[in-house]
């Protein structure tokens, strides 16, 4: 199908529309729903843990299992080296940009060294 001069196959239009609808619905759902009742206190207490907990659950597998399932805890895993560097730098400097840029450098360096060895 031709949309504004761009060719997109039909199944891709269904896919992107469906993904957009589903994602927006997930992000928006709580707002209209919440007007009708108050969250229990325990639930609100738990929500404070959401940001660090969700991000950690994304970080750990991507660092320890960078290529899918087998757990890679060896120190020749550049993702692990980079992540440890990020933890150290984040803890010491408390500066987000510095943490990202420096740990990327450590990661790329480790990857280059291990590729050589």
């Amino acid at each position: 199908m031709n949309l504004f001069g761009v060719n997109i196959p039909f199944h891709e239009i269904y896919m992107v529309s469906g993904m957009a609808l589903v994602t927006f619905a997930i992000r928006y759902l709580m707002f209209p729903v919440s007007g009708r009742f108050k969250f229990p206190e325990l639930f609100e207490q738990g929500l404070r843990y959401v940001p660090p907990v969700v991000l950690t659950a994304i970080i750990v597998p991507s660092v320890l299992m960078p290529n899918g399932s087998p757990l890679n805890l060896s120190f020749t895993n550049p993702y692990l080296i980079g992540a440890l560097a990020a933890c150290a730098m984040g803890g010491v400097f408390r500066n987000l940009l510095l943490t990202i840029v420096m740990s990327m450098a450590v990661f790329l360096g480790a990857q280059w060294v291990f590729a050589m060895g």
Partner: protein, 246 residues
Amino acid sequence: MIRPDTPSPGRRSNLSLFFEGAKDTFPLVVGAIPFGIIFGSLADTAGLSFGATMGMSIFVFAGASQFVAMSLMASGTAWPMIILTTFVVNLRHMLYGATMVPFYKALNPVWKMVLAFGLTDETFAVAVNRYNQNDDIRGKQYYNLGSMIFMYLNWNLCTFMGLTAGKAFPEISRWGLDFAMPATFIGIVIPYLVTKPMWASVVTAGTVSILAGGLPHKLGLMVAALAGVAVGVVCEKVFPGKKEAA
């Protein structure tokens, strides 16, 4: 990113809040750049058209699920299954929405819809910190909007760059630039680690994310998140005294 000493001049113009939000999001934008470029550059190999790739970044705006969709696409998965997987991968954003409910309460539905659309991991993390700062500043939705628009423009620009210039570097996805995402997220998580319950919840989430990693459709993420939250809440009861502020 977290500055408890932010001066509180009482009233701030909406525009200055907007730019403050964009400024505080800058490190996360930097972290998202390689991610967006890789996404765009992978489209060709995955068999995704230019329009659909841009369409995803414009209308879906959820990096992790876009990558998952692309890899499913490459392995010939049917579109209804890809939509279902998107649902599961993005389910965590429902927790973000629930967290934002008290902060968005006074806003009209259009504001709520716009901000909800932009509730990515990054903008959520930046905005929730600002909302939690105990100052009397009104109009923090402009801060939230500034963060969201900066992320959105950057994400779409990088997707476009990957789609066009990325073709010149077909091996870019093997450079390991995907490490930018865990690096960014580690930088966000560390300032939270100040109380025992927070440590306990994060360690639990990390452990469970590995143990439950074998669950289909990335469901392990949700299981790990819920386990982490539960442990945090229980630990608050066990180690009372210091209340978690953030």
